[in-house]
């Protein structure tokens, strides 16, 4: 039914903070409509029967830029979801791998109450809690976020919450924007990381070898890089202007 949403499932959280029922709806829910947005990248709005909406990004997005091919590697979103699950931060909206209209890609829960930080411009950091900012900074520090501009994270002012999106090649393997979340954490003198967040980082370090990454990702050294960053954070217990 039009107008319903995933919210009715949000009461059932797994111990990782991710919503098992939403995951199941995204994976198996009956798709009633698919609409391709206006835009360069062929992103789609997917409506699931009775259960709200998702944003679908095909895995194989390739675009020619002059002589080079840009592969967006949207499947990296699933890596971000896995890391967030281990950390138990609840920062990355639930996403699954799914085929939509014959195309493989990632289907991510649409967050109707959240807006890109750019919509709030220079007020965004006043609209979230300090702990939420610190969690997001830890996450971005670990993945060495290379493109966390104000369009690549969402703010839900009602819940004082951050949502991290757009974990693709430009974010995980690029070096464009220094994360606004990291720089704001340092600017607000919140760089000293609370002990429970450090415990989460230690848990990630313990479990990251169990993550099943595909061969390409192993080559890019992403796992080793995250482990090194986790060790740095556990040693320093702090994010500073010099380490971001």
């Amino acid at each position: 039914m039009e107008g319903q949403s995933f919210e009715k499932y949000e009461v059932s959280k797994s111990e990782t903070g991710h919503d098992v029922d939403v995951e199941s709806v995204l994976e198996k829910g009956e798709i009633v409509s698919v609409e391709t947005f206006e835009g360069y990248f062929p992103i789609k709005r997917v409506t699931i029967k009775d259960d709200g909406r998702g944003i679908f990004r095909p895995t194989d997005i390739k675009r020619n830029t002059q002589n080079k091919k840009l592969e967006l590697r949207t499947e990296l979103e699933l890596l971000a979801v896995s890391l967030d699950k281990i950390l138990g931060f609840g920062l990355v909206p639930t996403a699954v791998s799914r085929e939509v209209n014959g195309e493989q890609g990632t289907l991510q829960k649409y967050l109707e109450k959240a807006k890109p930080a750019a919509v709030f411009w220079n007020r965004w950091s006043q609209l979230i809690s300090d702990l939420e900012l610190q969690k997001a900074a830890v996450f971005d520090f670990l993945i060495e976020a290379g493109d966390r501009n104000l369009g690549n994270f969402l703010i839900d002012p009602e819940r004082k919450k951050v949502w991290l999106i757009d974990h693709d090649k430009l974010m995980l393997l690029g070096k464009f924007y220094k994360s606004f979340l990291l720089t704001e954490t340092v600017a607000k003198k919140l760089g000293k990381i609370p002990s429970d967040l450090l415990e989460s980082v230690a848990k990630l370090l313990q479990k990251i070898d169990e993550l099943d990454l595909n061969a390409d990702l192993e080559i890019s050294g992403i796992r080793a890089r995250i482990k090194e960053r986790a060790r740095t954070l556990l040693r320093d217990k702090e994010i500073t202007r010099l380490t971001i």
């Binding site: 947005f37 835009g39 360069y40 992103i43 709005r45 109707e112 104000l150 369009g151 924007y177």
Partner: protein, 97 residues
């Protein structure tokens, strides 16, 4: 005949339906000047004008602003690619004078 290059930028409403925020438009005869048609008070536009965007296409350091003309237009689609904010490719339009 005047040739314009333009990029549309969209946001999503609560039903995940697109709404155009602005059109970034450059006249071929004035390559260093991108005009923005849209709600000038929209914070996303203030953010773009104030903060600029990266040169994703050439992976060059430094930021691009509307006064950078075509380079700015060409990079909007990489900067705004989430769906929540989504830019089109550079399009052309000819207008009779």
């Amino acid at each position: 005949m005047t040739l314009f290059y333009f990029v549309d930028l969209y946001e999503l409403d609560k039903d995940a339906k697109q709404r155009k925020i602005a059109t970034f438009r450059m006249n071929e005869d004035e390559p260093g000047r991108v005009e923005i048609d849209g709600d000038e008070n929209h914070p996303v536009l203030g953010n773009i004008k104030g903060e600029g965007i990266f040169d994703y296409k050439n992976a060059k350091p430094g930021k691009l602003y509307p006064y950078d003309g075509m380079s700015f237009l060409e990079n909007l689609k990489y900067c705004f690619r989430s769906g929540y904010l989504l830019a089109t490719d550079v399009q052309k339009k000819t207008i009779d004078n």
